[in-house]
Amino acid sequence: MSEILPVDLIKNLQAHQIWWDDSLEEPVNIPDETQPGGVETDTEIKDEWVPIKTDRVDYRKKIIIVDGVRRIDAHLILGNTGRSAILGEFVVGAFSLEKGTVAKRINECVIVLPPEIRIKETLIVGRAKYIPIFANNGTYEGLYRTFIQRMRERERETAYEFSRSGYTVIADGPLQVPFSEVGVTLGFVKSIRKSYLDERYWSVVLKLKKGERTPIFTIKSSENLPPKYSWYLRLKEPKYFESPFFGLVRLEAPYTLELKEVQELAQFSGGFLPYIISSSTLSSRAPENLAPLESLERRLRAMFHPVEHIRATLRKMIAQAYEEV
């Protein structure tokens, strides 16, 4: 990208302080789901809701599960202005249920900069090459949201790529815009954080048995985003001591699809997703975290550059940069 030496780039950025959170947990909580602008419950059934049974199908078909994992490698303070940048890394990949293996893995390192700072150069730290991207908002939350969006974008691209090759794609998390470029992709939402429905509908949702789903409803978005189809699906029934939300997931399908097509997808999802769930010993997020998702995430995390090495190199580079001044 550029001839500039990494140490000089550090100097140019006046990056003279770094910190990191050793827990590697996400520094701020950024909700994936957008604010709903309203829900239409009569998309599939006009009358009173009843659980819809699905028939079990073989999952060894052209199905792809797409997911990404991310990590903040370091946090840079730029000059004396209080502006900051983050160095982050994410790996996006796909698991093929047809082959039972990870089908794709891509790794990307980015340096997220506040809008006022414009550089073209890639920051090379050891073997990691951090591509510069720019946040709309220089706050820490703004930088972080840009980082996640970049990963979601890569996930959507991966999903679209497989979808165009004739795969049915299950993407972890809510569907990403633009829907015109997601193809036949189902968003797989594990955590039920928002209540899209009235209480009378919830009584149906919470009583779903394994493999049963709710009728399809439509979520209208408030933020000038297109609407999307959605339904709840029970992966596993809770035991008497477990919450009724246990084993419950919500799926999303793009509004670009025909309702009939979505109905087929909803039946299909109920036919195999409950049979590929993980166990509590396999994943701390069982059963909602599917076994292939757990496998995929492990393989994706294995692609991260060794963080200790990156940080040691970065520390050395900063020291060198200021030694020369």
Partner: protein
């Protein structure tokens, strides 16, 4: 052919390392591989090795549950297939053997025939070698003659379960390989080659060895190809003499017939006269090792009896049978065994009676002047291979026969003062003749051969089911050790240390025709496969060639009938 790479996740050393097999390849235990690495100081170093373990597992999984999910296609894992290699040889370009490890990541190939020779040091043996079977890659394996013929070492010891006669078959095969390669042997060892080598095979089971000189008409094409691969012809032995004990006499009929079932034609009789027994000091062998160890005084009694018999014979007195010896002895026992306690005398006589019952038929009257046959002793110099059939004899008679024959060979060799011509002795059931505990005249002679045989030109090809029950000195003196199918519990004994821990577990899976072969200059024991005999082991196998006329098949009953008829005729004439 490339098969994989040297693994870097496990230690590679100059003596062992691991290789990861390419996904489109496979390796099995016993495969021979070769790899090279560049080293400063040594240049290009080639490593030769044998696969002794292959392992497959899923990598990246922590629990069995994950492996189960993997089987269901829901969990990704890396299927790895790797092998443990025992390095047999490292070779730099200048011919030295630097002790350095192969570099991880180096390409590994299957060894071709030439590389196999280098891997197992067959190149170092030059012409001093004979084929001893085929390796897993169908390349021939060789025995180093320096360690077979007594140059640097000698003797062969074969262990394994009996039942399929694999031990004797292999011993016979080795003899065949030796005699078929005699031209090379002569070139390499002019001393040995110029005087004909001989062999005595004691046949202890069935009559398998009575057809060594007849081709095996049932030999399969596969076996023929095995002979061909080793550069050996698939033919019977050429120069064989058969010996069998005489049949117990019935009536007054004087003719001696060999006590064999399936073959009579060309089978000689072995037997001793009392004179021979006395002159060769063989009286000891009439007593079983157990009897001798039970009563220590018996030694004295035997010595006195021998002394007396010697005097009698010197004075011209002849004994025609053991019975007549016993009768005379009984009459004169007071004077002959003055110094021997009465109990011991009785014990001696009791045992002599029993010996007479079991061994009596092996003792023949001295030949009359007009008879053709002067002696029924074994003249091993007359043929290349001498088969001595003892399988029908009682244990006591076997001890006597083996002891007497071995003793006469040793005495003869001592007297000639030269180890040439070489003689091989194939003796199974060593645990009987030289057991781990207890000594006896027969054990002494076997031990003597094991320890001094090399200098006398006597090479013992000994065999036993369990080497742990054979006198250590007999086994430890054998340079070449061979092991066929046996129980793993037996293989745990230290005497099988040469097998290595992994091969010890494999012995129980060996099939007939498979043998582990160890020889001093090859650091790793190798598994070889040897072909079915090219000679017949049953009458049926030889019958279709016309070598044996069907008329020669005389069953025991037929013979008895013949004899009875003759007797009747004789008495009728009177």
């Amino acid at each position: 052919m490339r098969v994989g790479i040297v693994l870097g996740t496990k230690d590679a050393t100059p003596f062992e390392f691991y290789i990861e097999v390419d996904s489109n390849q496979s390796l099995q235990v016993d495969d021979i591989i070769v790899t090279t690495s560049e080293y400063p100081r040594f240049g290009r170093v080639t490593f030769y090795g044998i696969v002794d373990q292959v392992i497959s597992r899923l990598e990246g999984l922590e629990t069995n549950e994950q492996a189960r999910f993997h089987a269901q296609g829901l969990f990704d894992a890396n299927l790895t297939y790797y092998c443990h290699i025992v390095v047999t040889r490292t070779l730099a370009e200048d011919g030295t053997s630097p002790k350095v490890p192969p570099r991880p990541g180096s390409e590994v190939k299957l060894a071709d025939t030439e590389e196999t020779k280098l891997a197992l040091y067959f190149d170092k043996m030059e012409k001093k070698k004979i084929p001893c079977g085929l390796l897993s890659n169908n390349a021939p394996a060789y025995l180093d003659l320096d360690f077979l013929l007594g140059i640097k070492g000698g003797h062969v010891n074969i262990s394994g379960k009996s039942g399929v006669a694999t031990k004797t078959s292999y011993a016979t095969f080795l003899l065949y390989s030796y005699f078929s390669s005699i031209r090379d042997v002569t070139e390499a060892y002019p001393d040995i080659g110029s005087a004909n080598t001989h062999a005595i095979i004691f046949n202890v089971k069935g009559e398998d060895l009575l057809f060594l000189d007849k081709p095996n008409t049932k030999l399969s094409e596969k076996d023929r190809r095995m002979y061909e691969a080793m550069g050996l012809p698939a033919r019977p032995f050429e120069n064989v003499q058969f010996y069998a004990p005489p049949r117990s006499k019935r009536g007054q009929y004087e003719a001696l017939l060999p006590n064999t079932e399936s073959r009579i034609e060309g089978v000689n009789i072995f037997a001793w006269t009392i004179k021979e027994i006395v002159e060769d000091d063989l009286l000891w062998y009439l007593f079983s090792p157990k009897e001798l160890s039970d009563t220590s005084q018996l030694y004295l009694a035997i010595r006195m009896a021998t002394k007396w018999l010697n005097e009698e014979i010197r004075e011209g007195l002849g004994f025609q049978s053991l019975r007549s010896v016993i009768q005379t002895l009984e009459e004169k026992i007071e004077s002959i065994m003055e110094r021997v306690a009465t109990g011991t005398r009785d014990a001696f006589m009791r045992r002599l009676y029993r010996a007479e019952q079991e061994i009596g038929s092996l003792i023949v009257p001295e030949a009359l002047p007009f008879e053709d046959i002067k002696s029924y002793s074994i003249d091993w110099r007359k043929a290349q291979v001498n088969v001595v059939d003892i399988h029908r004899l009682s244990d006591r008679a076997k001890y006597f026969t083996v002891g007497a024959i071995l003793k006469s060979i040793v005495t003869e060799k001592e007297n000639t003062g030269t180890p040439w011509p070489l003689i091989f002795i194939v003796l199974d059931e060593l645990n009987k003749y030289a057991p781990i505990n207890g000594d006896s005249p027969i054990a002494d002679i076997v031990l003597d051969i094991a320890e001094r045989g090399r200098s006398l030109g006597i090479i013992l090809i000994g065999a036993q089911q369990t080497a742990s029950e054979v006198a250590h000195r007999v086994v430890s003196n054998a340079s070449i050790r061979i092991c066929g199918n046996m129980d793993t519990s037996e293989a745990e004994h230290s005497v099988y240390g040469y097998l290595g821990s992994l091969n010890k577990k494999r012995v129980q899976y060996l099939t007939p025709g498979q043998m582990f072969v160890y020889q001093p200059d090859v650091p790793q024991t190798v598994l070889v496969q040897f072909p079915m005999p090219a000679w017949a082991t049953r009458y049926q196998e030889s019958i279709e060639t016309g070598y044996i006329d069907k008329d020669f098949m005389i069953s025991e009953i037929d013979i008895i009938r013949e004899i009875e008829k003759d007797i009747e005729k004789g008495s009728g004439e009177k």
